[in-house]
Symmetry: C2
Subunit: 450 residues, 2 copies
Amino acid sequence: MLGDRTKTTIEPIRRLLRRGANAQVRKIVNKTHAADLSAAFRTLTFPDQKKLFSMIHDLEQKGLVFAELDEDLFLRIIEDMGVDEIVNILDTMASDDVADLMERFPDNLATEILRKMEKEGSAEVEGLLRYDTDTAGGIMVPDFVAVSKNTTAEQAIASLQKEYIDVEMPFYLYVTDDYGRLAGVSSLRQLVVVPPETPMKEFMTSDVYRVSTDTDQEEVARIVARYDILAVPVVDEDNKLVGIITVDDVIDIIRREATEDMFKMAGVGEEFVETQSVIKSTRIRLPWLFASCLGGVLAYFIIGRFEASLKQMTYLAAFIPVIMGMGGNIGTQSSTIVVRGIATGRINIRDLWKVVGKELSVGMILGAFYGFVVGGVAFLTHDKWALSFAVSLAVISSMSIAALVGSMFPLVFARLHIDPAVATGPFVTTSVDILSVFFYFQIATLLLNL
Amino acid sequence: MLGDRTKTTIEPIRRLLRRGANAQVRKIVNKTHAADLSAAFRTLTFPDQKKLFSMIHDLEQKGLVFAELDEDLFLRIIEDMGVDEIVNILDTMASDDVADLMERFPDNLATEILRKMEKEGSAEVEGLLRYDTDTAGGIMVPDFVAVSKNTTAEQAIASLQKEYIDVEMPFYLYVTDDYGRLAGVSSLRQLVVVPPETPMKEFMTSDVYRVSTDTDQEEVARIVARYDILAVPVVDEDNKLVGIITVDDVIDIIRREATEDMFKMAGVGEEFVETQSVIKSTRIRLPWLFASCLGGVLAYFIIGRFEASLKQMTYLAAFIPVIMGMGGNIGTQSSTIVVRGIATGRINIRDLWKVVGKELSVGMILGAFYGFVVGGVAFLTHDKWALSFAVSLAVISSMSIAALVGSMFPLVFARLHIDPAVATGPFVTTSVDILSVFFYFQIATLLLNL
């Protein structure tokens, strides 16, 4: 059974490091999976982190840990390392992992590293770096098995034993023509089950799911998830097979994208800021709060103009929180549903009116319900019709408007090719604040002066 | 290139159905992937949906579509189907997919179906139904390759051609002892590369990542994602191998869990309500808004007690939105970070004080900044020290408290084994509303009477 890795790995490492039992730490470290080591790193102080890294004996293990470290820690650890030491580690790593790390190095260091790396490795890495990080080209591995149409099953298997012995996940074998263009695919299982002398062309699937180098990574993830495949081939403009993206990388994409969307909607940047310094976290979150502050200040000016009504009925102020709060919550509900729906392909942006219509209906029904509740509270405590009606109508309008705005903004942004997750938060919050407050005081003033 | 499936599949189906070109619809339908068909279903009216389903000729394709349909639609389509017709379709499906569907059938229908299904299939399904849906036992497939330690590579490959010819993804072969207990694993690739007469025990990995039948599905997903494996074996209390969970199912878990968390935090239930009726959607969302309403009503009573201050300085009311808004937003930021961090394993619940401390610091810095901004606006428009200070201090305290509450609640809930995502939303919103308003008026009253 997989034990809680905190107990089996992380705690022991901490304890032994503190006690200075270095030999024992080395033993654990060199047989622990890199992903678990990275979790252990997060719990240590920086001096202990440096110490732990230096205890990793195996260069390949060092490379695997490199790929798993959080960005901040990675940069601090390489600060004290010589270029040659870094290059030796990178030479053991898969080129897609190296390409990902290259993004993190300061430019001059990156250039020097590429120069010093072994020719074959650095050429592959440079090839990958040509592509944008968030595209298929940027995540693919140029590490795949390709055979020709006339290769027999037997010959293909033999190539796995020689030529392609190092390919990480050879579960699909791709069939290419003389120009390297993708013609078909077969699974390793099919290879093993057909008569050995059968040529690939007789049992391969020619209708291959494929993506191009500029396909967005979210789309790649959607395709792998939708069709339950273990890898998807990547082709260039000439349909030449240039790499594959395996399902483990897709899982990472899906997780990161989900985190990214959640964070964008809350205005906390795009990645995990929790492991970064207070200063950095503050800097990332400050700008997004500005939109909210602006909305609040505008609301202040709006209320200011209704000073007369407030003097007339001071109790109007007491309902501001509940009206804004209910509106804000429904707005969040609607925008969360729509943003997530767009991201997972459940909502089609062509269905704008259908989706907005439904959300508005829900908003109005819920608004009517809670409008009745809050209006009831107002009436029971004040016995004033005008006030109770004003409050009820304000709640209904606030919630309906919020549902409308919350569902519409993400769809409009998606149509304009703006990321709905990042634009929705501030826009929805600010609009709902201002509109709720405006309608409330307008309605109240009208009813109070009847 | 994978075209936009809307253009290549969904639109044509709609058009042809409308035109009554049934033969052509049948042609498309019988060569389209079930996942794409399901997307097409979503865009049709119910009569067209029934028509489309009846046009699917292949029983196995019908089964695949069954598994992909949204719950509502599934129940409506089977309403008009006889039990025998349903059983025939289910008999073609994998038992884990059948087990999932069983959950949806009304109880008496489910019993009848199980009775009528082919003996082997129904026994497997009943076996799976014993487990809770959200556990490894509930998602696993009892469909794997198991050989003994002394089996040679050659013999194992032969078993893939005969005995295990129907196993869906035989990329890992498991090694079990005479009692069926898990002893090791080998990949298909290893099998193909070692000399054919080598026995499994010589090249298998004995240190196998495994989960037990009661392991939570989120934990299963974490393990598969962390160690980059394509499948994880599931064992019972006696360490007997009872099933495997493949990476494609894990991808579905990860997506669903991310959607679930996002929805829980916004108070929209757990699954996609967008495809459900307005009534159902309203019913799901109504209760969660109640907590927010309660908070707003409590805030109303609090402000009511400060009526005197309001009469003295009506302008106090105008700052309520911005103070509550800023607090609410920071509260959302903090709770989003912490809830997501716990879910992805980036934040350890033992680090409560460290995490809360960091969030509080960020809250105080951002509070100081925006407190200055808003206080400045107050001063520039009113030229009153007392009011400006009150507003500034209110913003600072509101934001600091929100950061504290927003980060602490999820961690405390997680420690008490309560789902942080579902509890956090209402608790944080309500507390922040009440506390912000209370501190604001308390501070303002104090300063105004100095």
